[in-house]
């Protein structure tokens, strides 16, 4: 029997994987994918809790999250392309012009 707790545990694990990836990876695209994993783990939480709580608010929220994630992807990839054109790299270690 799969209960809401299983879903919450799974989404917490996914969220942790995403967070860990953002903090440790060097490639901008991979970092971006990790952020998407985080957002999707949130979606899973919402859907599981929506069923558990018994109203539709959570599922509606998921639609908004997906829309926003798509908009963010468009902007983020455009920024990465602009950076790549100037630096020939999207390694975050090359984000080194602005510091102290």
């Amino acid at each position: 029997m799969i209960t809401v707790n299983h879903y919450l545990l799974l989404s917490a694990i996914l969220f942790a994987i995403g967070t860990f990836g953002v903090l440790t990876r060097k490639n901008a695209i991979v970092i971006f994918m990790c952020i998407e994993v985080m957002l999707n783990s949130v979606n899973l939480t919402f859907i599981a809790l929506s069923r558990h709580v018994g109203n539709m608010d959570g599922q509606i929220f998921v639609f908004f999250v997906m829309t926003v994630a798509a908009a963010e992807a468009a902007v983020g990839l455009a920024l990465m392309i602009a950076f790549y054109r100037n630096k020939d790299s999207i390694d975050v270690d090359d984000f080194n012009m602005l510091k102290w």
Binding site: L8, T45, G54, G76, L79, N86, F95, M97
Partner: protein, 486 residues
């Protein structure tokens, strides 16, 4: 099903979202205008954008003393929302005025820039009027996504690319935390409405012991603190502020920050009122941390934009003092302070916009040596803005800080007020160093490239007027801020 649809239609109240609706509509029209204009001419779009903001301002003012609730209680355009909307509109207007000449100087007069600022402002107004975490989240994202583009707007400039990407990554990362917090709160309370969460806390006084509720609240707080650039979530601020186009830096530190404070205040004060004692302790620590880190790191900065970024962090700390106080004076002081900060910070940045060379490599302490002699008017004006940022009477910065700290004292947080005043004393050092550079150093350059243009001059004049007016006659606006508070 039919009933549901009818109920949904009855709940619609266009009046509640009219300001942001008008602004986004006009912004879309302006996008089309820029498609059909000649490449490289953006001045007309700039003036049309200012016009659009003025129209929106009048629409927003109809919400004063005439609260409009709509969409099943997910939007509430009340005095509070009106006040913050006006702050964002003023900030956007001043930004647009100082941008036109700047874009031409940087050889990138692209007119999409202005509609993006309008979209940001519309998002900020959503945030200020949202009473459902869903609307607040949407407003936050409309605001952020436009700002990611604006921060990386000079796409041929590596510095700007880097600022945009850093802002994007850290912004999206913090959005993840914010959303996870919303999801957990939803799981506990069964609603995403701020009022609903408040009702849950009232019905369950032991909510503070519920792990999931606490985790949700804290994650939500992380998302907001990131947006207001409070320590320890401030690390993106200096990099992004330094790399972004200067008018955008000015805008980011005023408009979006005010909107984030609006959302933070509404969620905390309306939604989590029952947890006041726990939250004030938390905000006490955050306020002290933010003020101190901002001021002490600013001491060692040579780059002016970066220095103002740290100063902006410390000012977020001063504003958090009002949330610690959690009383009428403290909360209305936040509203007042956001308005004051908008004027003084936009003014200081507008002067930087004028004195920068193309590429802006001279915006550091050595680059402004002797400015006070070569360009006396700009020197005096910048000095006034810096005095206001320090909090010296008779400027508005003094009044703002005075109200803020008196709120804290009234609520019994004497030590917090003392720490705040000591922090202001520390900030004297780095603000005054700029003044010293301007007046007590031999001019290394003749500043012949500085030419004063009308729109930027208007923007500086409005900021100067605001700073002096609110410094000498604060009563009217303080009264309005009191009416706008909760």
């Amino acid at each position: 099903m039919e009933n549901l649809v009818q109920e949904a239609i009855q709940n619609v109240n266009m009046q509640a979202i009219m300001p942001s609706l008008v602004l986004s509509g006009l912004a879309m029209v302006l996008l089309m205008v820029s498609v059909f204009s000649k490449r490289g001419s953006s001045t007309h779009v700039a003036w049309l954008s200012v016009l659009a903001l003025i129209v929106t301002g009048f629409v927003a003012l109809t919400g004063w003393n005439n609260p409009q609730s709509g969409f099943a209680g997910s939007v509430l355009f009340d005095n509070f929302a009106t006040f913050f909307s006006m702050i964002c509109i003023v900030a956007a207007g001043l930004t647009i005025l100082m941008s036109d000449d700047y874009l031409r100087r940087e050889n990138f007069p692209v007119s999409e820039y202005y509609p993006l600022i309008l979209f940001t402002t519309a998002g900020a107004m959503w945030m200020a009027s949202g009473t459902d975490l869903m609307t607040i989240f949407l407003g936050l994202e409309v605001l952020s996504v436009s700002l990611y583009v604006l921060a990386g707007f000079f796409r041929h400039q590596t510095r700007s690319n880097e600022a945009g990407l850093k802002y994007f990554f850290l912004g999206a990362f913090s959005t993840g935390f914010l959303l996870y917090g919303v999801a957990l709160l939803y799981g506990v309370t069964g609603t995403t409405k701020v009022e609903g969460i408040a009702a849950y806390v009232r019905a369950n006084p032991d909510a503070a012991l519920n792990t999931m509720f606490i985790a949700g609240g804290l994650l939500l707080l992380v998302g907001f603190l990131f947006k207001v650039a409070a320590a320890p979530f401030h690390m993106w601020t200096p990099d992004v502020y330094q790399g972004a186009p200067t008018p955008i830096t000015a805008f980011m530190s005023a408009g979006p920050k005010a909107a984030a404070f609006a959302a933070l205040m509404r969620v905390m004060i309306v939604g989590l009122d029952g947890l006041q004692s726990e939250l004030t302790t938390l905000f006490w620590i955050l306020a002290v941390l933010t003020m101190t880190i901002g001021n002490f790191v600013a001491l060692s900065q040579k780059d002016l934009k970066r220095m103002l970024a740290y100063s902006s962090i410390s000012h977020a700390g001063y504003a958090l003092v009002g949330l610690v106080a959690w009383n009428e004076i403290g909360l209305s002081a936040i509203l007042f302070y956001m308005l004051v900060y908008t004027f003084m910070n936009m003014g200081a940045f507008a002067v930087l916009v004028l004195i920068g060379k193309q590429g802006e490599n001279n915006l550091n302490l050595d680059g402004i040596a002797g400015l006070g002699y070569k360009k006396p008017v700009l020197g005096v004006v910048l000095t006034i803005f810096l005095l206001s940022l320090m909090g010296i009477p008779p400027t508005a910065g003094f009044i703002g800080k005075f109200y803020m700290f008196s709120g804290a004292v009234e609520a019994g947080y004497i030590w917090l007020a003392v720490i705040g005043v000591l922090n202001s004393a520390v900030s004297l050092y780095y603000y005054l160093r700029v003044v010293v550079q301007m007046y007590f150093k031999d001019p290394a350059e003749d500043f012949s490239w500085v030419s004063i243009n009308v729109p930027t001059a208007i923007s500086i004049a409005i900021s100067l007027g605001g700073v002096l007016y609110m410094g000498m006659f604060p009563n009217t606006l303080m009264q309005l801020a009191k009416l706008a508070g909760f």
